[in-house]
């Protein structure tokens, strides 16, 4: 038994509204998280994966294209430079082979050869004929070099050994950076040298006249790492480069350079460089650009793709959150409506139970009343035929028997009211005399009202015709309103409830007003009094459903209900009911009529 009690109380505790609300809130939060997570898994994650994948692929592709471009650029440059040098070497060799030393020793002939070399472009600065001892035999050019002896110069030794020599940049007697091409020719057992100086400016223009972005550089380095042309930076020809050359290699090499320092010792940004060794002279051609600039387009596209991708993902997420929140709000509202419906069903169930109980009680009372009435009649019959001693006794007997009849009829009215209340819970439309109906309701509630010091007043319009309506539902409406009106006098010694009916023939509708002299409703509460579960009564006294049920019943019957209240003075509920119910309730009327005819 104890266990049963404990179980009951625990289940009662589980059903407390606060607990239910907390459980529901947790369930809604779970639902919200699930929906959002599902959206993330089904749309945002795939979007990001596909987006990142495509972006990665594009970046690789674009970078590879850039590297290919670098390779093409350096290869093209290498060919131009090599062609330039080889062309001038060949021209010099042809002049040496096709002319005698004596011929070239004459200045006008050497000038002619110089002109031939410079015919297409001003690519050479001077041309000199030098004997095996290093002395100038003839010279055409802007410098005064006739008296110079080159026997000790490194290039002299090299050309005497190899027959053709292309030098690195050097200062020489003229004290400015230049490089020479020299060839030897042997005739009649004697060697002589034809030497030309490549125009440094023309050569620089050839090498450097390539613009690769803002930070691009093209330059040549000799094997010692000295600049053979000046790069765009402030370094000069023959200056020492800090470029990490590495050992000789065949073909083009692409490198990424990090942490290089400029002349001021500042760390340069990351750079991408391609390098290739020339065949002759053995110079390193370098094409270099800041990494950020080289891949600027890729990085730009990359950045915007990622921005677009993340904004899209964020938008989807945001939309998902908003939609989910909206859905949860709808679910919450539906749940609340379901709760209200359940509560109404519960309320209807309670009323039905009360109805059944009332019917039983009425029957049980009616039987003894019937016996009392027969007993009275027996006494009355007997009194008619039996002699009575004294007129006072007969008068008293008649008076008592009449009083028995009066009280029995009074009890009968009470039981009839109870039976009427219990009649039906389903909607059944039938003619209702609203005035008589209100009188009955008042009679039913009179005792309760009187015990609270409240009097009923009625102002009923005698011209009001019978309405086609549902009496059991109307009864519920008026019982709820009157109960509320009685409760509104809580703490007051006396008060009154006035019920008024008025016919509005033109509009074919009836007005019913229930006005009390109770405490009234504050304006803040007035807007919410028809909301389900809204109550100002103390806990346990009201469910907050009474007026909500009234509202839904009146609406269903095709009418309307409104309220007017003043705090401290009282409240008046006005109900308008049509003479005929709305079409959907007409079917019920037809059914009722059919039943009556069948009877």
């Amino acid at each position: 038994m104890d266990a049963k009690v404990t179980r009951t109380s625990s289940s009662a505790r589980a059903a407390e509204p606060g607990d239910v609300a907390a459980v529901r809130t947790a369930a809604y939060s779970r639902l919200f998280r699930k929906f959002v997570l599902l959206t993330l898994l089904c749309s945002v994650v795939p979007l990001l994966l596909v987006g990142w994948g495509i972006n990665l692929h594009y970046t690789r592709f674009a970078k590879q294209r850039m590297l290919n471009y670098f390779e093409t650029q350096i290869d093209y440059h290498r060919k131009i430079i090599e062609m330039f040098i080889s062309e001038h070497s060949s021209k010099l060799q042809i002049i040496a082979r096709t002319h005698t030393r004596e011929h070239l020793a004459r200045v006008e002939n050497l000038q002619e050869a110089f002109n031939a070399l410079n015919r297409e472009m001003q690519a050479v600065t001077d041309l000199g004929l030098i004997d095996a001892q290093g002395n100038h035999l003839a010279y055409v050019g802007p410098y005064d070099l006739m008296s110079r002896n080159y026997a000790r110069e490194p290039w002299f030794r090299q050309v005497m050994e190899k027959g053709i020599f292309i030098s690195d940049m050097f200062m020489g007697f003229r004290r400015e950076p230049h490089f020479i091409i020299a060839v030897t020719q042997l005739k009649n057992g004697e060697k002589w040298i034809l030497r030309t100086t490549i125009n440094t400016e023309a050569f620089r223009a050839l090498v450097e006249n390539v613009r690769i972005g803002q930070t691009g550089q093209v330059y040549l380095l000799n094997q010692e790492g000295l600049f053979q042309t000046s790069p765009r930076s402030k370094s000069t020809i023959m200056g020492v480069s800090n470029y990490p050359m590495g050992p000789f290699h065949e073909g083009i090499q692409i490198r990424t350079l990090d942490g290089l320092q400029d002349d001021q010792g500042r760390t340069k940004p990351r750079q991408i460089a391609s390098q290739v060794w020339l065949k002759d002279p053995r110079w390193l051609l370098v094409v270099k650009q800041d990494y950020a600039e080289a891949f600027d387009d890729v990085n730009y596209a990359n950045t915007w793709t990622l921005i677009f991708l993340h904004v899209s993902a964020l938008s989807i997420l945001l939309a998902s959150i908003l939609i989910t929140r909206h859905m949860i709000t709808i679910i919450k509202r539906r749940d609340l409506q379901a709760d209200q419906l359940n509560e109404q069903v519960l309320q209807a169930g309670k009323l039905a139970s009360i109805g059944e109980l009332s019917a039983g009680v009425a029957h049980e009372i009616n039987n003894p009343l019937a016996i009392i009435l027969t007993e009275r009649q027996l006494v009355l019959d007997a009194a008619k035929h039996l002699p009575m001693e004294g007129p006072e006794f007969r008068e008293q007997l008649d008076d008592s028997l009449n009083q028995i009849d009066v009280q029995v009829q009074r009890c009968k009215r009470i039981t009839q009211n109870l039976l009427r209340f219990s009649r039906r819970t389903e909607s059944l439309i039938e003619p209702v005399d609203l005035n008589a109906f209100i009188r009955e309701v008042v009679e039913l509630m009179d005792r309760e009202a009187r015990s609270s010091g409240i009097k009923f007043f009625t102002e009923l319009d005698p011209t009001l015709p019978p309405l086609l309506s549902d009496p059991s539902q109307l009864q519920q409406v008026f019982l709820n309103l009157i109960t509320n009106a009685i409760d509104a006098h809580d703490g007051m010694p006396y008060g009154s409830i006035r019920l008024t009916t008025r016919a509005e023939e033109g509009l074919r509708q009836a007005h019913v007003a229930v006005a009390d002299t109770g405490s009234g409703i504050s304006p803040a509460h007035l807007a919410r009094i028809f909301d389900p579960f809204f109550t100002t009564k103390t806990v346990g006294k009201g469910t907050g459903l009474g007026l909500s049920i009234c509202y839904s019943i009146v609406k269903r019957l095709g009418g309307s209900i409104s309220v007017r209240s003043e705090k401290g003075k009282g409240t008046e509920f006005s109900i308008v009911l049509p003479y005929t119910p709305p079409p959907e309730l007409q079917e019920s009327l037809a059914e009722n009529t059919a039943r009556a005819k069948g009877a």
Binding site: N366, N367, L369, I371, L373, T374, D381, S422, A599
Partner: protein, 126 residues
């Protein structure tokens, strides 16, 4: 129509006893029984002009008794007299062929008027 034979069927013995006296005093020949079964037995053996029948009785209730009476095919009118005055039960009883319907407690004069009317109808049938 005084002198009609009336069968009173009600589980309230005091009520049937009193009502028998009242009706007998008004010239009717009254037989009172306290259950549906007893009423059927009585009707099988004797002739009655009017049956005054309660609806709510232990054992066979009024509606079942009425159905059984109808099955017997007698020239008898049935008046329903019950404390359970619902429209539904009244409609059902009328559908089953009851002559009229009265709710308890009712005045003797009211009952007598109904018995007379029922008797008159029965005479018309005869």
């Amino acid at each position: 129509m005084t002198g009609s034979r009336v069968l009173l069927v009600d589980d309230e013995t005091i009520f049937t006893r009193n009502m028998s006296k009242l009706l007998t005093f008004r010239g009717y020949t009254v037989t009172a029984v306290n259950s549906g079964d007893a009423a059927i037995r009585e009707l099988e053996q004797n002739h009655f002009d009017v049956v005054v029948l309660d609806l709510k009785m232990p054992g066979m209730d009024g509606i079942t008794t009425l159905k059984e009476i109808q099955k017997l095919g007698l020239f008898t009118e049935t008046l329903i007299l019950t404390g359970h005055g619902s429209i539904d039960s009244a409609l059902e009883a009328m559908k089953l062929g009851a002559y009229d319907y009265l709710t308890k407690p009712c005045e003797i004069d009211e009952l007598v008027a109904k018995i007379e009317a029922a008797g008159a109808k029965k005479e018309g049938k005869d």
